[in-house]
């Protein structure tokens, strides 16, 4: 594997292998000296055309813990804002000597263009493209689900060697615009989980029927009858909202209040969940909109743990893409 562009790039064994590698990476992070020499002398560029401090620092931390040199290139204050094309920017980074480009871009498919166009020869890691894919987010979500819900694996390490067979995960919110939802549907089902997407009909894409998952417009039914092992709430962006819709466009739902009433993970819905169920959110949260403070701060919430797991998963991805050329996969 040279690139990580889509969650669908991974089959079950490759995904389990990657999560296992992340487990071993996480174990090293318990040590006093967290830094590993694995990628010494390699250069990782974080090429961010879209603001995302969280994802960028997660990748940066992951690369640095593996001793890689890290260059952060953000569209703001760079030549990109002067109109430089993606092609020229990428070729500049290659000329500087990048071994891997971690790209976040507002255009769906930009990482594919980078990987397939022949513009650059580096590895390309998709750190979120438009409304398409965010594979490392899905990996950290899968990793988190596995640790909490699949019991002890080999070596007694939670989940090690296991997939997500038998689990039911509800993903709630703006599926239409969500790269997190697309990547999670692919990866979680690859790993054997069952996924139900819950959203108002306006926030499910036309064509969602072809996806390997169930869909529902009714959160109470899914939580009550579906007894999900995990609920993942998606961020609702301000510009999609009723009265505040961008440029006077028609909103996707009548009002934030109606959204919260119908699709918000509030205290009542939290209590309806099975005892073992956990709550995930890719962040940043809109407290009081898609998730209540009770849910975000409850013992079920693993939201901060998702952030820590993100570093381990991204270390594993960088390791397998860059060191994997020489060493066999784990």
């Amino acid at each position: 594997m040279r690139h990580l562009l889509d969650a669908a790039d991974l089959d079950r064994d490759a995904a389990v292998d990657l999560l296992d590698t992340a487990s071993r990476m996480a174990a090293t992070q318990e040590r006093e000296i967290k830094k590993l020499p694995t990628l010494r002398g390699r250069t990782v560029v974080n090429l961010f055309f879209e603001d995302s401090t969280r994802t960028r620092i997660s990748f940066e931390t992951a690369a640095k813990r593996l001793s890689a040199d890290v260059i952060n290139f953000s569209a703001k204050g760079s030549s990109v804002s002067k109109g430089e094309s993606l092609k020229d920017t990428a070729q500049t980074l290659q000329a500087i000597g990048a071994d891997a480009v971690v790209i976040r871009h507002q255009a769906s498919g930009a990482p594919h263009r980078l990987a397939a166009s022949g513009w650059v020869a580096t590895s390309v890691i998709n750190a979120g493209d438009g409304t398409h894919q965010h594979p490392t987010q899905a990996l950290l979500d899968a990793y988190t689900l596995r640790r909490h819900l699949t019991g002890p694996g080999s070596d007694g390490e939670p989940g090690l060697g296991k997939d997500l067979s038998g689990l039911h995960v509800a993903i709630v919110g703006d599926v239409l615009h969500s790269r997190v939802a697309r990547s999670n549907v692919q990866l979680l089902t690859t790993l054997g989980a069952r996924v139900t997407l819950v959203a108002p009909p306006t926030l499910l894409p036309v064509g969602v029927g072809a996806w390997d998952c169930a869909t529902s417009y009714h959160l109470d039914e899914v939580i009550g009858d579906g007894a999900p092992d995990a609920v993942m709430t998606l961020r609702v962006q301000r510009e999609r909202m009723g009265a505040e819709a961008e440029g006077g466009a028609t909103g996707f739902f009548p009002s934030p209040l109606e959204y919260t009433r119908t699709y918000g993970l509030d205290a009542r819905r939290l209590r309806m969940l099975p005892d073992h169920a956990i709550v995930l959110h890719p962040g940043p949260m809109n407290r009081g909109l898609e998730i209540s403070a009770e849910a975000a701060d409850s013992s079920r919430a693993v939201i901060r743990e998702q952030v820590s797991n993100g570093v381990a998963v991204r270390m594993a991805v960088l390791y397998l893409l860059l060191a994997g050329e020489k060493e066999k996969w784990s």
Partner: protein
């Protein structure tokens, strides 16, 4: 100048000889040798099909304004190589072809180039802005004799403006060619809305945004008794609507492009903007419905929507790229490969949908002798095709100034061998020959 075409098959029928003398078809059959005379240039036409010169109702020549992408000269060279003797140049240039001055400029550039007749299309609205009617009469009565009016690239979405345009052009037997795209339903749209767009996370261009306008416009055309031409029909629903309108006797004609006949939305999975076009590539079911519509006559013409774009407008991420693909040099081969070689259409059908009907819709059959039948006394606008030739599309080898073909590397069957414009060979042996030199007239 005389040419004797030996053993060619007019409309794919029995081989015979055809004499082209002084710009006209002088004889077909046994007396062709005599008619051509002893000084005629003799071309061996064994195995070649002869069709009337093709007429494109939908070409973007980009001049004036985007001469980096195409010029009248380069675009009409591509047209000649594709078997065309006439093209209609769309109005979305810079400045827009919304005045007599601009359409006459384009018309003169076409005459000066001499590779094919260039018939400018006039804009419906000033600046394609969809607010006020352009001076349609001035364009109609100019030297360019404009009969086709279109804001192509933009939809005439205001129903009142569309009604007025349809009514107004009746005065000079014009036609409004509509780019059917409801703008509110397609804000930011990138590709056909369906399973593939859902997966790719590209904003959807729903079929209903085309069909809603087609439905409205055929009813408007019926109401005011005007001619409507629907450009680049791309959905099964639009084909049904046009079929229904024709059954009611509404004066609607419709166009299919080679790419909507052949290509489908799953090509967007590559995220390669070479497959980004407006209206977008649709599903396999839509493409088949368009093919069925072309076969049963619901769709009247194949138009190329030849849309050249500079490299930088395609060498980028999908959302940043321009819509459009070139098609003049591949259209006939695609129609042959897809429709004739498969037995779904005859060569006579091809002549109808790529020559005579487009010429009649554009009203250039009488005025300019385009799209006329292969018959004695008619203008010698003739294309010779080798239906057995197989060739692989090489973007760098095309005559268009731009290379944005979606067919790179694709093998097609059937290739233009020669093109005659009023008896003059613009293309011989598959290569550009010489343009027609029209003496410059100064008033």
């Amino acid at each position: 100048m005389s040419y004797l075409l030996r053993g060619v098959a007019p409309l794919g029928e029995a081989p015979t000889d055809v004499a082209l003398v002084d710009g006209r078809i002088a004889a077909i059959g046994a007396d062709a040798v005599d008619a051509a005379g002893s000084r005629a240039t003799v071309l061996d036409g064994a195995g070649l099909v002869a069709l009337p010169g093709l007429v494109d109702l939908h070409t973007h020549l980009r001049e004036p304004g985007r001469e980096d992408a195409e010029t009248v000269e380069t675009g009409t060279r591509a047209a000649a190589l594709g078997g065309y003797t006439a093209v209609h140049a769309m109005a979305n240039t810079s400045p827009v072809a919304d005045t007599a001055g601009v359409v006459e400029q384009v018309w003169r550039l076409g005459r000066d180039a001499g590779w094919a007749d260039v018939f400018p299309v006039g804009a419906v609205s000033v600046g394609l802005a969809g607010r006020h009617l352009a001076e349609l009469g001035a364009m109609a009565y100019s030297a360019a004799r404009v009969r086709v009016f279109s804001d192509d690239g933009m939809c005439v979405h205001d129903p009142v403006l569309m009604r007025r345009a349809l009514e107004y052009v009746k005065a000079f037997d014009g036609v409004v060619a509509q780019h059917a795209q409801e703008p509110r339903l397609t804000q930011g749209a990138q590709m056909h809305e369906g399973e593939v767009s859902a997966e790719l996370g590209l904003a959807g261009w729903p079929a209903v945004a085309e069909e809603a306008i087609v439905a409205r416009d055929v009813l408007l055309a019926e109401h005011v008794g005007a001619r409507l031409h629907v450009l680049h029909v791309s959905t099964a629903g639009s084909v049904d609507l046009v079929r229904w309108a024709k059954s009611r006797g509404i004066a609607v004609t419709a166009e299919a492009t080679p790419h909507h006949l052949l290509l489908t939305d799953d090509l967007a999975r590559s995220y390669d903007p070479l497959f980004k076009v407006n209206p977008p590539l649709r599903t396999a079911e839509d493409a088949e419905a368009v093919r069925v519509g072309l076969v049963d006559g619901t769709i009247d013409v194949v138009g190329t929507d030849h849309a050249p774009h500079s490299r930088e407008d395609k060498d980028c991420e999908w959302a940043a790229a321009a819509f459009g693909m070139i098609g003049l040099e591949t259209a006939l081969s695609i129609v042959h490969t897809l429709m004739v070689a498969t037995g779904r259409m005859t060569w006579a059908d091809v002549a109808r949908v790529m020559s005579s009907t487009p010429a009649r819709i554009g009203r250039v059959d009488q005025s300019s002798g385009q799209g006329r039948p292969l018959a004695v006394g008619e203008p010698a606008n003739v294309v010779l095709i080798d239906p057995a030739a197989r060739w692989t599309v090489d973007p760098g080898a095309l005559a268009s100034l731009s290379t944005n073909t979606p067919y790179a590397g694709r093998e097609l069957t059937g290739r233009v061998v020669s093109t005659f414009l009023r008896g003059h060979p613009t293309v011989l042996d598959g290569r550009l020959n010489e343009p027609v030199r029209t003496p410059v007239e100064y008033p």
